[in-house]
Subunit: 153 residues, 2 copies
C-alpha cells in the first residue's frame, strides 16, 4: 500500500482542518495509507473535528516526525501552506523525503498567496495547488479532487 504524509502547520485558516480531513478521506479512497503530521494546535483541532478517528487514523507530531524521517519513507508528501512556518516545514520535508510532492497554498490576501507560492517554487520542484481561500473551502476542494485524480494508484 502506498503511503502519504499530510503536513499541517498553524491552523489559523478556518478551512484547514476541514480540508485536512477531506484530503485524508480522498487519499484513503484512492488506496493510500495516510498519516497526518501536525503542530500541537492543529492536532487538537483535528481531534475535536473527528472524535472517533473515523477519518484520520494516523496522527503524529510534526517535530517528532521530522526527527525520524527517512528518504522515500512516504510515496506522497501533501503540504498545507498558508504561513511562513508551514512553507519552511514543507521545504524541509520535501528535501528529506525526495518523493512525489504537492503544496496546497492558500491565503485570502493575494500578495501573501503569491509570496508563499514563490517561496515554494524557489526552494523545490514540487507541484503546487493554490487558491485564494479562507473560509470557503470549495475552490481548494475542487483542485484537491483534480490533483488526487492524477495520482497513480
Amino acid at each position: 500500500m502506498k503511503k502519504a504524509l499530510i503536513l499541517l502547520g498553524c491552523p489559523e485558516a478556518p478551512s484547514q482542518t476541514p480540508l485536512a480531513v477531506y484530503t485524508t478521506y480522498k487519499l484513503k479512497e484512492r488506496g493510500y495509507d495516510v498519516t497526518v503530521a501536525s503542530t500541537p494546535s492543529a492536532m487538537k483541532l483535528l481531534e475535536v473535528s473527528d472524535p472517533e478517528s473515523f477519518y484520520v487514523t494516523n496522527k503524529v507530531d510534526i517535530e517528532s516526525c521530522l526527527e525520524n524521517l527517512n528518504e522515500k519513507e512516504y510515496d506522497l508528501l501533501f503540504g498545507f501552506v498558508h504561513k511562513d512556518a508551514a512553507a519552511a516545514y514543507f521545504v524541509t520535508f520535501y528535501h528529506i523525503l525526495n518523493t512525489e510532492s504537492v503544496a496546497l497554498v492558500f491565503e485570502k490576501d493575494i500578495d501573501l498567496l503569491e509570496k508563499f507560492i514563490k517561496d515554494v517554487q524557489e526552494s523545490t520542484d514540487s507541484k503546487i495547488v493554490s487558491a485564494r481561500a479562507y473560509h470557503n473551502p470549495t475552490p481548494l476542494r475542487v483542485k484537491i479532487d483534480r490533483y488526487i485524480e492524477t495520482l497513480e494508484v
Copy 2:
C-alpha cells in the same frame, strides 16, 4: 427522542467547524437527535469536514429553518456566537423556540467577547458558555463537555 438544534453563523473562527462536529457527536451520545442549522459557507465547511456525514446527519440552511420554526420544536437550542450576526440569529431563534438554550460565545479579543456575552444577556435568559478562544479548541471543548453533562437525558 429529544431534539437539539445547533446554530452556526459565519465560520471565521478556525475552531467553529471542529467544535460543531464535536458538539453534535456529544449530544448524540447523550441521546439527542441533532440538527445543524447554518449559513451556506458554514455548511460547506461542515460538508468538507465530514464527507461521509458520519457525525452530522441533519443539516439545514439557517434561513429556511427560521422561516418554518415553531415554538418548542426543539428541546435544546445550542448557538455558536462569535459575530454580531450570530448573536442576532441566536436571539431570534431563542424567542421563537422558547426552550432550553445555551449560547457558546467565543472570541480571541476580550472586549468583543464581553460585548457578545452582554448582547446575549441583555436579550435572553439563556445559559452562556464562553471562552477566549480562537484556534485552540480545548477551553471550549471542556466547557461544552461540562454543560452537556448537566443536561437531563
